[in-house]
């Protein structure tokens, strides 16, 4: 195989470029800094813009402005920065501003450990916004996923006009791996659907049968209004409860109803194994080793690696878990996504392996639970 030797963070930058990213702004923070550094190397020579904000709030704010001007935009940070992004994430959700947000997770809480991995922000990504409306979050396992899922993230942000998270981890972002980018299946690039009708342009009106408003950039010939305030289809503040309810329900529905079309996953092992391991992110690597080791030791197990975490791909989880006598959920925190698995598979027996000490979960830890409960 002809391969490049790159860390997950670099692969995200290359994926962004391949997806048509034209604007990046970020603030240095370990372990996400090399995304900023890579974008600074790649984007300006290609005619795009890369800025270093005065803080994380500014960095994502720049991106929201640039996205409203019509550019595909991305920002990247880690736990302390994703916390600061919160208010702007809410803006992007409620005002339907496309943006890709990378969270290269590190061990928390708070400043935690800059150079230790974790998957401790998984529920924060979902609920760390005011209003609690859904978001999309994709979880890569390795640099190849970083490349492909970043492209997918841009496509989803453009399609649904929403923030899309890449839930990475220090152990992916800063681990170098041989990867053949050319051999990876690249999705077709999607652009946000532009308004083509006659004026007046109503920035938050949706055509019949659609849940996503057509876009025009600020600076177009036709005037465009954008606002973080509760608004009607015309983009003006409204207190009309009927209009408000319709908009909120549309924001909720537009992602939930479509998740089956962007459910990314991998399944490994026989479909009828008694034990199904469900995991995501870097832990999928140890889980695969564990499933192999268990088989060698005479116990059959299968593995479901979720690469779409939010909205929860409930149909996929139910389908894959249907024949399993037991589910084992593995994640690098003390129990976040397992809440969703328990909710979706309420009647099935679910064991949980969680670890939050800055170390990767060891395959033997998983194998032990697979083989001996």
């Amino acid at each position: 195989m002809t391969a490049s030797f790159m860390e997950g963070n670099e692969a995200i930058a290359h994926g962004a470029m391949a997806a048509g990213c034209r604007f990046f702004a970020g603030y240095p923070i370990t372990p996400a800094t090399t995304i900023f550094q890579s974008m600074l190397t790649l984007l300006p020579p290609a005619g795009g813009i890369c800025l270093q904000g005065e803080d994380e709030i500014a960095s994502i704010g720049f991106c929201l402005g640039a996205s409203m001007a019509g550019l595909k935009a991305m920002t990247a940070t880690s736990g302390p920065g994703i916390s600061l992004y919160s208010e702007q994430i809410s803006f992007a959700i409620g005002s339907e501003i496309p943006i890709v947000i990378v969270d290269v997770q590190r061990l928390g809480p708070s400043t935690g450990s800059a150079t230790r991995g974790a998957d401790g922000d998984i529920q924060f990504l979902r609920w760390g916004n005011s209003g609690g409306l859904p978001v999309i979050a994709l979880a890569p396992v390795n640099p190849a996923d970083c490349f492909v899922l970043t492209m997918a993230a841009f496509n989803l942000a453009e399609t649904y006009r929403c923030p899309v998270f890449i839930a990475s981890n220090k152990e992916i972002g800063m681990t170098r791996e041989s990867v053949d980018l050319r051999s990876l299946p690249q999705p077709e690039i999607v652009e946000r659907r532009g308004f083509a009708g006659p004026p007046p342009y109503r920035p938050f009106a949706v055509a019949d049968g659609r849940d996503v408003p057509d876009f025009l950039p600020i600076g177009a010939d036709i005037l465009v209004r954008q606002t973080s305030s509760t608004h009607g289809p015309d983009g003006y503040i409204t207190t009309d409860a009927v209009q408000i309810a319709a908009a909120q329900q549309r924001l909720d529905r537009k992602l939930r109803s479509a998740v089956d079309t962007f459910t990314y996953w991998e399944f490994y092992g026989p479909p009828d194994a008694d034990t199904l391991v469900i995991t995501y992110g870097v832990s999928a690597r140890a889980a695969r080793s564990a499933v192999d080791a268990a088989r060698a030791a005479g116990t059959t197990a299968s593995l479901l690696v979720l690469k779409t975490l939010w909205p929860v791909p409930e149909a996929l989880i139910r389908e894959k878990a249907a024949g399993a006598g037991r589910i084992v959920v593995v994640e690098m925190n003390l129990g976040q996504y397992v809440r969703e698995i328990r909710r979706v598979l309420g009647n099935q027996h679910i064991d949980f392996i969680g670890q939050m000490d800055g170390r990767l979960i060891h395959p033997e830890t998983i194998e032990e639970v697979i083989c001996h409960g």
Binding site: T2, F5, A46
Partner: protein
């Protein structure tokens, strides 16, 4: 030129509020500049001044508390042809202070209109960063304890090339706004006004008093000569045009036969300055010349010039799962700091683990086979230890071979650095071959 006032959304300010005067002043300024509506973006902050975008038929973006300058920056960088005007109150000024200072230093062509009425009008008249200490504000005694901020002096110190003050009730308002917008670069206009709904219910403030106060204040006359410099967007474009194209990522085609297919694990334990991470990368590239898969995990202190530096490399002919290493095939123990950081791991090494240890490093007990290298006697300096040790591994035909290593050096280095790396590798190979011979 027609008015850009939005007739369907008339201003909703309290009777006597200066904000309404500023709405009309801004409209007049747009007319004086002859700007078409679709070339103007109005970015409004929060509070009463945050309503401004709705009163105009222009492009509009209204966002979160204190963040208006951040959206305006992204908009202007993406669309330099737009005239971008930001409206903000003295509240937004305080909460968005970091953005204000950065905008002054950056000098992007934005105009910031501060509708300064000395309190938070919308939330109950609480004190802001411009409330005088003697005022009766909605924050009880708290404003008595703080000094109000002089916006013009602040932005001048922060590097803004244009800062002016005026009364929102003055006849010259539209002209003041026009001049601020016409200036190419970041311009700040501090517009003083009256908040009848909150501030002047408990404090006496008349247009005349505002004029008198303004007359007493130094600075705020517009262009600040010592801060004049090229505008950020234009400078960015100039710098950008001079950048060479980015090289595509290095691609390594397979050309050698792998030594061993199964997973091989290497741990390099060293210290800052020993080029440990580079050595790990070289091993990875070398293995890739044989079409093998590689992962490399590194650990070093935040203080990059001091402390341990560790690189863990896994090489395999199949997809690599778990990237941790517990029982390595080869360990290079090159500095005490690295060995001490992984002290506990030594007990888990296997009898087949080969440890190549520098003569000046003390190792913990371990079942591994240890071979000592006297780097000083070899003539290898501390920064070259890691590469020499990697060569000693290659000499033993473990993980990588000498030709793979040489090709990796060619990928990674050029010119004199390549020559020097080859000289180091030669020393390591000789040392390794001595030991490899029975």
């Amino acid at each position: 030129m027609d008015s850009l006032i939005n007739d369907s959304r008339p201003p909703v300010f309290c009777p006597g509020c200066t904000h309404e005067r500023v709405v009309h002043g801004l409209d007049k300024a747009f007319a004086l500049l002859g700007l078409p509506a679709n070339r103007i973006a109005l970015v409004s902050d929060i509070g009463c001044s945050g309503l401004f975008d709705t009163f105009f038929n222009t492009h509009a973006m209204h966002g979160l508390h204190g963040r208006a300058l951040t959206y305006a920056t992204g908009l202007k960088m993406a669309r330099p042809e737009l005239t971008v005007v930001v409206t903000m109150g003295d509240g937004g000024l305080g909460i968005g202070g970091a953005h204000l200072l950065a905008a002054c230093r950056r000098n992007l062509d934005l105009t910031l209109l501060v509708l300064n009425n000395f309190n938070f009008g919308m939330t109950g008249g609480q004190c802001s960063v411009t409330t005088p200490p003697e005022a009766q504000a909605g924050s009880s005694f708290l404003n008595r304890l703080e000094k109000p901020m002089d916006l013009c002096r602040l932005v001048e110190a922060a590097g803004a090339p244009y800062a002016a003050r005026c009364s929102g009730l003055s006849k010259g308002l539209a002209e003041n706004i026009r001049a601020a917008i016409a200036f190419e670069g970041f311009s700040v206009l501090d517009i003083w006004g009256i908040c009848p709904g909150r501030y002047t219910r408990k404090n006496r403030l008349t247009p005349k008093m505002i004029d008198e106060n303004l007359a007493d204040m130094p600075g705020g006359q517009g262009v600040i000569a010592e801060n004049r410099r090229p505008e950020y967007g234009r400078s960015y474009a100039r710098q950008q045009a001079e950048l060479p194209p980015t090289k595509p990522p290095l691609e390594v085609p397979p050309e050698f036969t792998p030594l061993a297919g199964k997973r091989q694990e290497l741990v390099i334990l060293g210290s800052a300055g020993q080029r440990i991470i580079t050595a790990g990368e070289i091993v990875g590239l070398a293995a890739m010349t044989a079409g093998l898969q590689v992962t490399q995990k590194n650990e070093y202190n935040i203080t990059v010039l001091r402390g341990p530096s560790i690189s863990e490399v896994i090489v395999s002919d199949e997809a690599i799962g778990y990237t941790g290493i517990e029982t390595p095939d080869v360990v290079l123990a090159l500095a005490q700091e690295g060995v001490d950081r992984r002290r506990a791991a030594f007990a888990h090494f296997g009898e087949n683990t080969l440890v190549l240890a520098a003569a000046d490093v003390t190792l913990p007990e371990s079942p591994a086979r240890v071979h000592t290298i006297d780097f000083k006697a070899l003539g290898v300096r501390p920064p070259d230890r890691a590469l020499a040790a990697v060569a000693a591994v290659a000499a033993r035909e473990r993980i990588i071979s000498p030709p793979m290593l040489d090709r990796a050096l060619e990928y990674r280095f050029a010119g004199k650095v390549l020559e020097s790396a080859r000289a180091t590798v030669k020393k390591g190979l000789e040392e390794g071959r001595k030991d490899a011979k029975p």
